[in-house]
């Protein structure tokens, strides 16, 4: 069922976790809430589940399937919730964990024992843990436990599925496996889902849409492709992976760094002003000689060629006014790296091939 959150704020004493957040998740969609810790993403998820209450405000609304559920207790909302640390019932077997939500139903709506066994059996098949039905959570690996937690949440046929950093406690390999598995699962059982994560790679891979959160606000809410290629703010660029920052100016509708106009993927105001130019490592190129568009003189500090790309670290020359951070990271293809034949200590030129420019806002 679709989820709608409108004008929700949440303060904890002095601390503001959410500032007037609104969010709509469509039927069957998988949305991730992505942000650093303290950005409010988990609070938002817990408010949807009913584990936290929003600050009182006549305009605020939390609705699932079109019905306002703000006044419903968490046990009445029928949401599936998956915790980072699984929160499996440690004294119950895998089978009983999954059956829990069915067993606690009032007598009138509780399925018969036979029906419970059938449903749990199906879910055990789904998570491929049929053989582990009688084991206890402590006997399972982290990945297996999280699959049990997911099956337990799905057992109540939830209206929506909420996942709070579900893979955060797992090692990288298992995390990737489970991500794919979750995607496949979601294709099979398209329950409206919200997944909280601080891992941008995970968000980009799993989500239909990503809400990027910062300091209690949603900075951008769009498809992975859109947020990556057309970020709405400097924060979004920085958060979505490695990026180089240059300080420049806007002149005649183009960002200029080091006297050179650079290409940017978005229209700029024509008047001058300070600009922050964000360039991802793969959007930079290196030249041995000064070519048109070469913006920054720099010296090669380190070359790391083990990997799909060659990563080159450079320091801008001392007289360059553009430096914003200590080092510039450039990712080159192995082919390009061979052509350049450069070595550590060489003086080279860095050229910007594409960038995202944000004009500094002094109106504050």
């Amino acid at each position: 069922m679709p989820i709608e959150v409108r004008h929700v704020s949440r303060t904890f004493g002095e601390w503001t976790a959410l500032r007037d957040v609104s969010l709509t998740v469509n039927q069957g969609e998988l949305v991730t809430l992505l942000g650093p810790s303290g950005s409010g993403k988990t609070t938002l998820l817990r408010i949807i589940a009913g584990l936290e209450e929003p600050d009182p405000n006549p305009e605020s609304l939390v609705a699932i399937g079109g019905a306002d559920i703000s006044r419903q207790k968490p046990d009445e909302r029928r949401v599936g919730f998956v915790f980072q640390h699984y929160a499996l019932f440690r004294h119950m077997s895998v089978f009983e964990n999954i059956a829990f939500g069915l067993r606690v139903r009032p007598k009138k709506v509780r399925p018969l024992e036979k029906e419970i066994r059938r449903r749990v059996g199906e879910l055990l098949e789904l998570i491929q843990l049929g053989r582990w039905a009688n084991q206890y959570p402590s006997q399972l690996s982290g990945g297996q436990r999280q699959r049990v937690a997911l099956a337990r949440a799905l057992a109540i046929e939830p209206s929506v599925l909420l996942l709070d950093e579900p893979f955060g406690a797992l090692d990288a390999r298992v995390r990737q496996e489970l991500r794919r598995w979750l995607r496949t699962l979601h294709a099979r059982i398209p329950v409206t889902s919200v997944l909280v994560t601080h891992d941008q790679e995970e968000a980009l891979e799993v989500a239909d849409r990503i809400a990027i959160m910062n300091a209690g606000r949603i900075e951008q809410f769009s498809t992975p492709d859109e947020v990556f290629h057309h970020p709405a703010s400097a924060f979004v660029v920085k958060f979505l992976g490695n990026v180089n920052l240059f300080h420049g100016r806007v002149e005649a509708g183009k960002a200029v760094i080091g006297g050179q106009a650079v290409d940017s993927s978005r229209a700029l105001p024509s008047d001058g002003g300070a600009a922050r130019v964000f360039v991802r490592p793969h959007e930079l190129d290196i030249d041995i000689h000064r070519l048109p568009g070469a913006a920054v003189r720099a010296r090669v500090l380190r070359i790391q060629s083990a990997g799909p790309m060659v990563r080159v670290e450079l320091t801008p020359a001392d007289d360059e006014s553009v430096r914003a951070e200590d080092t510039i990271n450039v990712d080159l293809t192995h082919e390009r790296y061979r052509d350049l034949a450069m070595r550590v200590g060489d003086a080279v030129f860095v050229r910007v091939r594409d960038s995202r420019v944000f004009v500094e806002d002094y109106s504050i």
């Binding site: 968490p74 004294h91 402590s138």
Partner: protein, 273 residues
């Protein structure tokens, strides 16, 4: 070196623990088994046993409710005055039991704050069974709460949250999730609480009034018999309390073993966040 340390420890235990225990039983049986049986089945002794059992049963029941409620509140919720509550729970450990007893006399005695009011309604607390029970509850109330608070804090609230989100009511959550998770620690607390309730002397001594056959608990009865130079009877009754101690010790050891097992969570469960 190792031998010396072990010997010292064993010698101490033998001298200070084992020897007195043996002495209790030899003294109790010195004048024959018939007298032993007579001493513990005589009217005053039986009424002391009855009062002790009643007091222990009521104190344990009261502290079971209080202990679970207090540790639940402290471990799972944030509320103003929480740290004060935690300190207050420890109060009976910090105060001499005699003073605790005295406080009840000052509150409910004939000259006490509520003395007049109680007298008018013909309710007797001090120098009667209610006083003995009240004093015992006061002295024993940290035992269960103290056992549960650290365990419940460590277990956190996620399992309960998961249960509630799966549709469980508050009672179902407690019955099916919280209680099974704390059962061994709870039993351990009950055993300790019970042992102290049966063995309490100081506080009870002040409020009981030492009325034979009516307000004497087992420890008080032992004292009276001893003061009357009725050593065999005193030791016979004392042997009952000693037996209780031995049983408590065995149950406690079993429970410690159980809690440690039920408690141990795999290493992957602990993450720095």
């Amino acid at each position: 070196m190792r031998l010396v340390v072990i010997l010292v420890a064993v010698a101490f235990v033998a001298l200070l623990v084992l020897l007195p225990v043996i002495a209790v039983f030899t003294e109790a049986l010195r004048k024959g088994f018939a007298l032993y049986v007579a001493s513990i089945t005589e009217h005053d002794a039986l009424s002391a046993v009855k009062l002790t059992l009643e007091t222990a049963a009521i104190s344990v029941a009261a502290n079971l409710v209080f202990g679970i409620a207090a540790s639940w509140a402290i471990a799972k919720f944030e509320f103003p005055g929480k740290s004060i509550l935690i300190s207050l729970i420890d109060l009976p450990f910090a105060v001499s039991p005699v003073i605790s007893g005295l406080v009840f006399v000052l509150l409910f005695g004939a000259q006490g704050i509520f003395g007049r009011w109680l007298l008018d309604r013909n309710i007797q607390i001090v120098f009667a069974e209610p006083g003995v029970i009240l004093a015992t509850i006061f002295v024993t109330f940290p035992f269960i709460a103290r056992e549960l608070i650290p365990l419940m804090q460590e277990q956190g609230v996620e399992e309960e949250e998961a249960a509630v989100l799966l549709g469980a009511s508050a009672w179902q959550t407690f019955r099916r999730v919280t209680l099974p998770n704390i059962r061994w620690a709870l039993l351990y607390g009950v055993v300790l609480c019970n042992a102290r309730a049966m063995g309490e002397f100081g506080a009870v001594s002040v409020v009981s009034g030492h009325i034979r056959g009516r307000t004497n608990t087992l420890p008080l009865h032992v004292e009276i018999l001893y003061n009357e130079y009725n050593f065999s009877a005193a030791f016979a009754v004392a042997s009952l309390l000693t037996l209780l101690a031995v049983v408590t010790l065995i149950v406690k050891t079993l429970l410690e073993w159980k809690t440690r097992r039920g408690h141990s969570t795999p290493v992957e469960d602990v993450y720095a966040d």
